[in-house]
Amino acid sequence: MPPSGDRSPGAAKYPLRRLPLDATTPNAGHAPQGATPLVAPRTRFLRGPQRSTRPLQTGGRLPYTVSMGEEWKAGERRAAVERWLAAHGDALYRYAFLRLRDPQSAEDVVQETFLGALRSTRPPDGRASEKTWLFAILKHKLADHARTCRHSPLDQCIEPDIREDGADANIEDIVFRDDGRWREATTWGDPLRQSAAQAFWRHLGDCLQVLPAAQAEVFVLRELEGLSLDDLCQITGVSATNAYVLLHRARLALRRCLTKAGFGPEDRS
């Protein structure tokens, strides 16, 4: 919840939930104190989160407890718009397009996101929290768009692709046998022989579109946009435990999909 006494419309409408931070909470790629990173070559995959993110410019505080700034100063909004467009415009659009599957609707929602952010009288501190804040606003705008579409007869009102996430539980049953072993032993082989970059992104985009919505959402926010798990949970509203499960299923499904699409398949038993 925003600090007490914060009555700004922006802060009230887009509250940032406080999330507990303890020694085991993953945060921006930093290992918890006392954890010994694995460095054995065979098990380098267990080294833990490797992502580096920009340090939070909040004096060591979490973005969720950041003290809201003062009123916008003259000219600050314009500078903020230019900064947001340059730094976050594409990321916000990609996420909106993933949800809406229509470029015009995605542009409209992103535009509403920026305008909604400008209406806030309390700009967030720190560039790292700014991205999370904008994504949280975008999430609200997507929900507003969904409500509008349900009551609108307009053809251009594209209903977000709401898929039942009950189907995603099948991916582990698909790739694993009843005894817990892999059904197929495949690998992508030598990364140096992989297909061209454009082909990879095309394949990845196609595979993301067939993923259940929740899996695609968390995967995009985590892997493509580089958000920390805490920020991802705040934006999507899922718990950390559920986020782990969704990311795991997304990775399983994408690996299978990319393999079927011909992305560097090589069978090894």
């Binding site: 833990g48 535009q111 400008l118 038993s269």
Partner: protein
Amino acid sequence: MNLMLGCRDVARNVSRARDANLQGWARAATRIHLFLCPPCRAYARDIAFLEQRIRSGSPDGPQDRLSADARRRVRDALDKQGDNDL
């Protein structure tokens, strides 16, 4: 304590290790399993490569960038409302 994990459990742990540090018996059992299981090592290698590939490049299709026209509309909306009167 049973340190033997199946591939299904190890795959979960390998994925989780990309987002949080595995500790304790889960970490030890997963290491042992990866040492012994080529398909699980292949899975770990493939998802590590997927992350590496995503981080090393950026999507560049029409659905990956906010158009210049959309950017102009945002600026126009700001101009229309007034910089400090939105």
